[in-house]
Symmetry: C2
Subunit: 292 residues, 2 copies
């Protein structure tokens, strides 16, 4: 049996599964994200319940971040300088010896986890060149190229691209680093700060313009065979359609009329299929990959 | 012996090399790009001189484009809809049977060729996560992730990203598709059309702002361990420094103080080392890879 953990800013999910099928949970639990000691204590309790006699064969962790995913780093498995209060410099790796295990453990970012989950049993099964984007509390993108996650020096941080401003948008943006980068203008809290509610009517066009620029940049940078895009903001009625239409206008025929972004955008750019469990599934897939 | 061909809008290079060391030319020739029949005739002549008795073990082609690099496509090896007059729908693959050979042949984009060349014996030797950018007559980027060239659906087309306008720049741009995309504002012909000469003085800051946005997008999208950036425009005095400084301002500390883009930009972002022969070397590396 293997274990998977998805850590998020508001909740953790933990699961155990059989390594023969990491996409099917034997048991899972949802734990609210409070203070590290409390939250990690609940994780420990859940794991101890299932692994009282035998250690997990492997543990995979898909984490909010920034998470140090470089196995050669002394802070591998640490959440580093996160804006989430109390969680900076939290050592997630320490969980294993605390449990009395010496199981192998691996760490990836939350979006990379969701990407692996959707690739294994969701919206992009078996595909080797895909991007997974989330537009929610933050904006993040995981990228798989030729079957490898992009991790050359760190991971993709496409939430912070500089976007061209919509002419009707004068909001100054909320990114503490960049003000009006993509995340500063289009994440959930930016929408809330600007209008006090989810985007509606003409506001959807404005956010759609920014999402379209994210999609455009992904296509131009990594030429994926499919883009899966989720997150709370993407549930806004009309937003996906608006983004696809404006993407097509931005491409302006450049990539050829038969590029799937124009010809078959419905399957090329698609919502996740695993609901809340893309990342958790991915953490189990990651754990399973340690066994091979 | 193997053969390599780099096709460009103004010149072709052809070379023969020993497969034991594809980075050292036995012979090479420079052919001006005129009409397809004439230019390809000269290529044929060069190859016939060296391969009158025995066929090349393999041929690699790094080509201006768009070039169809999908082996499953019926137009594999064709230059497709290029703005270069007379060259649209030119079948480069037909060269092999014309020569009476049945040698294996492979095609990649010019920037991917330069990337492979610089990776084999230039500015990024042995590195698996790199980007090669050229800012010249056009703007193009090749990307290697985990040792694989990005070719999920087509190749990267980062020359056409939407950039934020420099506040002092009112030029409308020259891209026939997008007007003021990156290439429309910052390629050599755009600079010439705007000012009648290479960028100088304050103009360097304007072009530097656009190059900085290209570097930023590359870093945020594919997190390379090194970026090699060349092309005629990058020879403008002061441009590389201006771009690196403005890149650092755009990152604004987000990636952490120890990110090489800020801490060691001199080695992280670097000029090519193979001069005119990055692409030609890459075409031979490609040919050599067919033998394995």
């Amino acid at each position: 049996m293997i274990a998977g953990i998805e850590t998020g800013g508001t909740k953790f999910f933990c699961a155990v599964a059989e390594s023969a099928d990491p996409t099917t949970f034997i048991d899972r639990v949802r734990i609210p994200t409070t203070a590290p000691q409390e939250t990690l204590g609940a994780v420990r309790e859940f794991l101890e319940k299932h692994f009282s006699e035998v250690a997990p064969e492997a543990i995979g962790v898909a984490s909010f971040g920034p998470i140090d995913t470089n196995p050669a780093s002394p802070t591998y498995g640490y959440i580093t300088a996160t804006p989430k209060p109390g969680w900076s410099h939290t050592d997630l790796r320490a969980l294993v010896p605390l449990l009395g295990f010496d199981s192998p453990i691996a760490f990836i970012s939350d979006v990379s986890g969701s990407l692996l989950g959707e690739r294994t049993s969701g919206a992009a099964v078996g595909m080797n060149d895909i991007a997974y984007a989330t537009v929610g509390t933050g904006i993040g993108v995981g990228v798989l190229v030729g079957g490898s996650l992009v991790t050359g020096h760190g991971t993709p941080e496409l939430g912070h691209i500089l976007v061209r401003r919509h002419p009707k948008d004068t909001f100054e943006g909320i990114c503490p680093f960049h003000g009006d980068c993509l995340e500063g203008l289009a994440c959930g809290p930016a929408i809330k700060a600007r209008w006090g509610h989810s985007a509606q009517g003409e506001e959807v066009e404005i956010i759609g313009y920014y999402v379209a620029q994210l999609l455009l940049t992904i296509i131009l940078a990594v030429a994926p065979a499919r883009i899966v895009i989720g997150g709370g903001v993407m549930k806004t009625p009309g937003l996906m359609d608006s983004a696809k239409r404006q993407l097509s206008e931005l491409i302006a025929g450049y990539l050829g009329g038969d590029h799937p972004a124009t010809r078959s955008a419905d399957t090329y750019i698609t919502a996740p299929q695993l609901g809340d469990f893309s990342g958790l599934t991915g953490s189990l897939v990651l754990a399973n990959s340690l066994l091979r």
